[in-house]
Amino acid sequence: MPIRSLKSAGRWVLAILLFAAGVWAQRSGVIEDFLYYLPDVRYLAVQHLFLTAMSGSLAIAIAVPLGIVLSRPSMARFAESLMQVLNVGTTIPTLAVLALSMSFLGIGTVPAVFGLTVATLLPITRNTYVGLKGVSPALMEAAAGLGMSPAQRLFRVELPNALYVIFAGIRTALAINVGTVPLAFLIGAGGLGELIFTGIDLYDTVMMLAGAIPTALLAVIVDALVATIAFLVVPRGVNPSRA
């Protein structure tokens, strides 16, 4: 009982605070300033999402097969050292990756997508690899003993059982990706970074926030989207969120 009344009291306080914030925003004219940037935000958010979608799907298309190949028993000898190379790769800051890709591919969307893909690759590859390696040897023995071919083992047993871990990797990677896309503005690929960096340069807080807040919202939305897909796609028996 006390906890419930505390909760409802908290809800009231929150509502009042929100209302007060709204009143303040209206009075100081911040809302109007924000609305001024709305067409820009719309245009740039689409550009932003396009960059995320391109680099994210490219990264998934490369990283998942790569993780699968690395987890095959025949690759066991090289897998760990290759994963180490990828690990070292992630320690390179994304900004440096973008700068490097700009020096090879010039400016615009192409080098941005390339740089973002490289930066997104690792968490997905690592989770795919670890997820597949983590499938219990007993399951693999049972699958082999019942007469599944290596491909049947991969698609009917290994991947479904590793899917939750793979999706966790995709989720992390895409959230980072959305948050990194603003840097792509620096090599001329647009996105919400345009408002953020211009806002910083002009010391225009509202402009900066008009870029930053939608970026944050996009990250949350993309994360929730992937989580929903994972919830629906991962089989119930191996899905901790549906247990």
Partner: protein
């Protein structure tokens, strides 16, 4: 039928070659359970897994139903062999129904056929199809999971089954239940089964034949009773344990040892009749009273019969515990010890008295295998002795 011909496995390890299975030759007749038994690292599991090529044989051949499997496609071979492992290995991403029907689906059965088969299998393992088929393995207890594991192995009705310590991870009470259920199923299905165990009691209970392994070699391969009564060497003897004569109690049924010659009285007989029958049959202490339906009703003791006049129905004591004809001697011995008696009346499936079993007859039956002198192995007329 499973026949192994000079099956050998050599593992290359950093410390040099290790012979895990050394020219194993053995044959399991159709419809029998053969238990591979031995301490860990003795090569029993390696031998088993070479049959379905989970482990590749270094040399030697495996014959199933007289056919050399060397040329067979590995996937086809495995689909024709039921396989149960200790870790159960149910696929957590699949429902129970999907798990059970894995092999039929691999073999391309149509949907109605394998759905029907799933229900048949659930009936066979005495689990409710409606309640379980749509659930996931993680929602089942260990014992239930292993039943499903067995059902999955039986799904495509393979003639041969390989079982690698299938009941090893289940608690003792459930294990005994599952073993009994499995034996009941096997009595109908008559699969040819190779079964790895490290539990001598399980081997005696389940096996038609037992193969004892040591350091990659097959040391002795014989029926459980022969194994226990005539271990080939010191290793087998010590592996079986010092109480191996007691273990044989498990293997003998009351049916084989009981005697149908026994005296009894009816409730309407006089105590005088009872006393004379006690003397006629040479009983020391008491005689069984049997009611009209042939069920044991009570005991008339010698002292009562001698000192009192009247009818048996007024002067009996409670009936002793009874042995069923299909009980094993271990249970009978336990009943005797628990009730401080040296004999028990035997009853048939309908509960009617059909004879008695004595401690003397039991020890004699077991002992006869160890004695070589012919005069001792002659059948002895056994008698009920005393009952307090």
């Amino acid at each position: 039928m499973i026949r192994l011909d000079n099956l050998t496995k050599v593992f290359d390890t950093p410390k040099g070659a290790v012979v895990a299975a050394d020219h194993i030759n053995m044959e399991v007749p159709r419809g029998e359970i053969c238990i591979l038994l031995g301490p860990s690292g003795c090569g029993k599991t390696t031998t088993l897994k070479m049959i379905n090529r989970i482990i590749r044989a270094t040399s030697g051949k495996v014959f199933l139903d007289g056919e050399d499997t060397t040329g067979m496609n590995t996937q086809d071979l495995r689909r024709s062999i039921g396989y149960v492992i200790q870790q159960i290995g149910l696929f957590p991403n699949m429902t129970i129904e999907e798990n059970i029907t894995v092999v039929p689906r691999l073999l391309g059965w149509d949907r109605t056929a394998y759905k029907k088969r799933a229900r048949e299998l659930m009936d066979m393992i005495a689990m409710d199809a409606e309640a379980f088929l749509k659930r996931y393995p993680s929602e089942l207890s260990g014992g239930q999971q292993q039943r499903i594991g067995v059902a999955r192995a039986l799904a495509a009705d393979p003639p041969v089954m390989l079982m690698d310590e299938p009941f090893g991870a289940i608690d003792p009470i459930n294990r005994a239940v599952i073993q009994d259920e499995f034996l009941k199923m096997q009595a109908e299905l008559k699969k040819t089964i190779m079964f790895v165990s490290h539990d001598i009691d399980e081997a005696i209970k389940m096996g038609d034949r037992i193969a004892i392994f040591r350091e990659g070699k097959l040391v002795q391969y014989s029926a459980p009773d022969d194994l226990l009564s005539a271990p080939r060497n010191g290793f087998v003897e010590s592996f079986l344990g010092e109480d191996r004569a007691l273990k044989r109690l498990n293997l003998v049924k009351v049916r084989e040892v009981f005697s149908d010659e026994m005296g009894s009285v009816k409730p309407d007989d006089t105590l005088e009749t009872a006393l004379s029958r006690i003397d006629d049959f040479g009983y020391q202490n008491a005689i069984l009273m049997v009611n009209d339906r042939g069920e044991p009703a009570g005991m008339i003791t010698r002292s009562v019969a001698r000192t009192t006049r009247g009818y048996c129905r007024d002067h009996y004591q409670t009936a002793p515990p009874v042995a069923q004809l299909d009980d094993d001697l271990r249970k009978v011995a336990s009943l005797m010890f628990a009730n401080d008696t040296t004999w028990l009346p035997c009853v048939d499936a309908r509960g009617r008295v059909c004879g008695h079993i004595t401690q003397r007859a039991m020890t004699h039956h077991l002992g006869s295998r160890y004695r070589s002198r012919p005069e001792d192995s002659a059948p002895l007329r056994s008698q009920p002795e005393t009952k307090e």
